[in-house]
Symmetry: D3
């Protein structure tokens, strides 16, 4: 199996129970998660060795983060303690036509306030196959834009492949700032999660004409032309019928070829948070065990579909369970 | 913004958790609500000044009613205390093919037992734009039939417009008695919520022939002919696929023109109680802020659709939230 | 009304709350049930006199079983106490594409370990109309294969009709062993719940050719030829769209005629466990009150559809409620 | 074992969770109970055959009452259905210095509104050892005062012993009316639960002088003089330190002798409702199995102490469990 | 009745359920509260007109604060919206020997970041009897030290009496800084909540010698000498046996006389947060209705004792309920 | 810090919520634990490196055990998978006078059925300071008696100190069999948890005469004479006032000297399971960091007292938290 480092912020999520608005909620569900931590947990569940690097406060909430990660066999040696607070957000769970609503309370967190790379990077990246990071990290501060670039350079130097999930958040930075940063980062990236909106709004690719739209891989192809260094593009296409019913197709672009999974009907959705991370986890697993491209995208999409059926950010399925789900299909009880 | 008086009974609802019959329920959810109170809360959420007039017992349950209403900025100066009990009902929440089931325990309530209009009506209706009442009130007793008429007369005299929601309940009175009462009340009404079944069974309008059915406004048109004083008819058309999945279209008839909203797919339904009141609240808001007819029916239907997604009788959305929902559409998360 | 004996194992079910895997569950829901007990409860709800015969340990869990059954007016005089433990299973409730998952912990139970028929059979079967048992009982041990046969013989001798639900469980015995046992048991059976897979894999009937498939009753017809003694075959056809959405049609074969119910759209499914037992209960009720065949299959399917909408193994509906549901149809609230 | 009839009202109790006032409670716990039903359940748990006679509405709540009683093996053949509603009360659970608070909503119940004894009394009392009734029943109406007397006469005629728990409720009737009724009823009573306050305020016995107080049996002795027909007086002495901590001593007066149990320290109290009924159940059990007086009062007090440790009105302990508790004493775990 | 302004920060409290540490808590209870808001709610419950002035963000959490306060009839016209976040803290509820533990996450809140007095002070203090504020406000920032002084001056000028609760929090500022600030503020104060530790550590009063200790009012007397302008000192003496059991005595110093309440045994404690505010609310009520000193301290202490028996920060008792509790005493149920 | 191996069975505990009997419980709380695992978690919390060796089934419940242990940083490399089932027990939580009650369902578990030592013992014990095991393990089977002895011999050979908690369970084996086994095992033990009852009933020491009783260390002294190899005896003296209130004193015997901690008043008890393990964990920590004897017994007793205040088997406190609790004492909140 492989060895992977994921690095990013991990937060406390406080979510309402379905059918209640935040304003009417006396009880809030506490979950801990963040994109990179979630990807790490998926990979740990599949048997890989995972380091999650971040910084959290030395408080009971920080302790809860440690315990959460260890539960899934994550190596926490590079999880620093210090700083003022754990980033927090409130999730008003959506249902039916009513979308979920997020209220961030993340400013000033221990991770966001970091201004030097406090880890021993040589040690961090030693014998690591993949270094995974997301676009949320450089969105946190000017310092983090520089530090993210530095991390990629050091990881590259240490022989890691770089996985990067663009994950653009408009509440954190402007399209312009994000675009400029991506121009610096993407030349170091090997595996990139990106979609149509990223291509258009952040990378300046023209929207497909009606003729070009026939090509399902149009944006992947264009992005590949801009960044020939990227070996793999991956992403999902989601059709949102309501907050409770979505359809999901996973896609990849590999060696100038486009692959997509079958479509999953996800109804009802229990908890959508972390579904993209579950997809990324499945893709990285596919790379590490050298799956064929079609198997890889099928596996990753199945993992993401399963994630929607459970509470919490992180995927709770072994690779055997994902494989069986891929084959057996939907809803059959075994007894 | 406007000033509105709503008047009617408010009850304690004890409901089961979805998936449990009443007979197997150890825990019951307590909510306080009633049609007129619910309409008032919607309007208060949109920024109007609302008086809710009723009578409740001077007990802990009565105190809970006060606190419930004040939470939403309702003026409770005309909420009288006295009498024997708070009307109660048990709601066995429906799901899928199994419909909800209501068990009333409302006889002898403080409000139903009233036999004089104990309020200072001049004070109650001073500078009020709209007086809203429903057909449940005259259904409670012979006295209430007379008192409802008297209220409308006094409100009219004080310069209010009268909003009336027919809201026929077969468990409370006969079609004949209801029909006779409506003949007395409707001449005073300005805005009337009424539907096809009311037209046929209470007002004696012949059912539309297959040819007439082409006219979506057939019944509105006929009722308008009977009561030319009514400025606006409003109502919803609901297609019940199951207790969990409905489709909803709002309709109005204004100045001899028919308008309807887009159709909302409501799936799953969290709590349907109060959805009609949310629609009425949206219509009255539209009138008070002088929306165009199409905007008004769209707003009211959006408000009603949103109500289905939360627990409890009363709408928990601001006018900005309803507007945004109307525009953005279904199930998109913002972050 | 009739008098019925059902006999079999009853277990403790520990199930997760929807949206949680077993591994992440701190709270488990406890229900008591088993196929034959569930059928008995349905029949008791419809007004019949029911004896449930089984054996359970003399512990708090055994006491809970007694209380559970008595609640539904089941006669527990033939519920023996003794042995080591109550069979248990864990149900990870399914939702959407994720199927439910069952983890058995039933070996060594008081019932499974029985090696003599400890009841006074003459007393047990006195004036009984129907004796109902399922294929799970002979699957428990070699002894139980013999004892099941003996029970059928004695019941027959006492003048009972025999109802048998094949209910094949691959985790308990092989198809070969089940097939051989069925050859011994079915000659004593009057009413038999069996389906296509039973016909092919256990009774050795060839799969229908594409031409034969046109005959909806193909397998019933073939099984009837093998066992002309069986007066009635019954079963359901279930289309599994997901763990949350199924379609259900009930079917029977009676006097060389095939009947089927209308199709029920079951969405969402609250709890599927016991839905087959609710169907069997409806069929046996139909037999006992001499319903016409179409009414019988409609009633039984309605009962089964309703079962899906409530938590727990056992149907909580009276015959009047099932009838009303059959007629009124889906999801209409009455108030 | 014995055969006992208990007769009285059974109600729905809706109680708050400890630490919440009624006004702040979104969830209410539903329990069914009433003094005579509770006594019956205790006796059924000890192995006696119990008939509970009452009248409840033919609704889902009535059905829940049936299922509640059957669970404990109560014979419900004399539980009539009809009338308008099930009596209800709200219990704001007390804790620490804050006492519990009861809000009755029981007027107009099916039982309270009865005006004839609708049961076949000959059948009801056939071969019955003890008929148990309480002072709540005659408090419900003038009719019930007469009907209670008639029941006692008929029971007496049929050879039953009469057990009567005075259970004075000041919210239901005046001391004067209660006193007059008692003068009529007590001459028929064999076993009577009564205390100091009953003696003084209802029976007109002068309060003990400081000298007389030395006699622990002073009031029993005086009441015995007034009603020499009464074979046994029973009651508890409760020292209320707070709503969470009480001390309890059981007492009886039998053949001119006074007995009392050891004192039980009850801390914390889980649910006090039904503790007096558990004591009465223990006493009647002692009578039926002919315990020695000291054993009887010890058993009954132990049963009452145990009742305080569980939620719900009714005692959930077998006679073996009560005996073991009596001997082993407090708080030792066995494993 | 009186008119009172209270001004201060209001926060979101997220607390664990008793018996769980924060690190093991999946569910957190959400309450909104703050010392000054809590005092205001007590006074509103007693019938006074209360303005609560503060600043909260314009988010769903801010909306929840509005709804919380309105529920208790608080005037929210001076509750400003704006700024970045609502101050938050986590409460690990204590039990038995294990003390509660507080984790603050309040930096950067809308209120703490205020740097001008954004209210129309003339309007705020118009016809106000008492202005109540606490020592937490000047502890929030240097700006708030100045602004608190300015508020007192303006309130004084407008004719208000000033109530000040020292409420020293070592996590917010040093003893030295607090002491200097108090020297500036106390000359404007009329009613002051202060205790022995405040006297010694903040005001520099020497600890009582063993001889001086005989004087229960020693520290009150000394503080009075320092600030002769203060008309009333008030406070509670709490003996902490454990996190679940405390003893509480209320004390006041008025016109050179010392009064104390009887001792309350509080066991178990449901929720201690806000108990001091309930005491302050009782004192201010006593002043507004001109109670005699002993009645005032008895009332306030009873209110505080009751607060310990319910969840949430704010007292949920009317003045009649507090009076009745004062008289009837402990734990008696009324029915 | 040290390195410790603990080895034993780990089970699923299903417990009722306080105030409910098992028979009335619809919801059961799931916890995973066992004496040796619990000791290991305490030590891991204090910073030591812990291996827990056991065998569990390869099921979802087994997976939950892995995740539970990893959460606390336990090394699970020696946690084998295989066998049939996870041992289970039901805990009816006690409260007040009602003791907790345990219902075992542990026969046939993967661990109990082991018949060879499947671990690589050389690897297991490499560089390990202490090997901890309890008397429950040899109680499981004849094979386990031999295997426990073999484990001790191998551990000894590898240079470990042996810690042994006698932990006699009468439901698992007889006193005679236990006594004979102890005679074989104790010669290998260095640190032994044992009490008066063990001394008398298992080791055959005569009960202390009234004169001998003055010596608090009487039984320790006698056992030391029998087994001079044992360096340290440790245990707790518990006074059980009720299931909710206990007093606890920790004691040790070291180098012929007796030490005891101050007495802890534990009221209320949240969850007593694992309190002895928390004490053992504290003692072993004291040994590993070479505390002075008095500090060691104080620390261990404080840890045990804290354990009583939280749900679940395992102690959730760091060594800093235990130290602070030891010093600060009872129930003081810090904020």
């Amino acid at each position: 199996m492989g060895k992977v480092v994921t690095l990013g912020e991990i937060m406390l999520r406080l979510s309402t129970q379905a059918g209640n608005r935040l304003v009417q909620s006396d009880l809030l569900q506490a979950h801990y998660g963040g994109g990179e931590a979630n990807v790490g947990i998926s990979l740990a569940n599949y048997g890989h060795d995972i380091i999650f690097a971040s910084k959290i406060p030395d408080t009971a909430l920080g302790d809860a983060v440690f315990k959460h990660l260890r539960r899934y066999r994550i190596d926490t040696r590079f999880l620093l303690t210090g700083g003022q607070r754990l980033g927090t957000y409130y999730l008003e769970t959506g249902i039916g036509e009513r979308a979920a609503s997020v209220l961030y309370d993340r400013a000033g967190s221990s991770f966001a306030e970091m201004d030097t790379l406090e880890w021993d990077l040589a040690e961090l990246f030693r014998e690591v196959d993949i270094f995974h990071v997301s676009g949320i990290t450089p969105a946190l501060s000017k310092r983090w834009q520089k530090m993210t670039l530095e991390l990629m350079k050091q990881a590259k130097k240490a022989g890691c492949n770089i996985s990067f999930d663009i994950n653009y958040r408009s509440k954190l930075w402007s399209q312009q700032e994000a675009g400029q940063t991506l121009q610096q980062l993407l030349p170091y990236v090997d595996y990139c999660s990106a979609g149509k909106l990223d291509a258009i709004h952040l990378l300046g690719i023209d929207e497909a004409t009606s003729k070009q739209k026939v090509d399902k891989a149009f944006y992947y192809r264009k992005m590949q032309q801009m960044f020939p260094n990227i070996q793999l593009f991956y992403g999902t296409k989601r059709t949102v019928h309501s907050a409770s019913a979505n359809q999901l197709i996973g896609t990849i672009w590999l060696e100038n070829k486009y692959y997509e999974s079958k479509m999953h009907d996800i109804d009802p959705i229990v908890d959508r948070v972390g579904a993209g991370d579950a997809f990324a986890g499945g893709i990285l697993h596919g790379l590490l065990v050298e799956m064929l491209p079609q198997a890889m995208v099928d596996f990753a999409t199945a993992a993401s579909a399963l994630k929607h059926t459970i509470h919490g950010d992180c995927n709770q399925f072994s690779k055997e369970e994902v494989e069986r789900f891929k084959e057996v299909g939907s809803g059959k009880i075994s007894r």
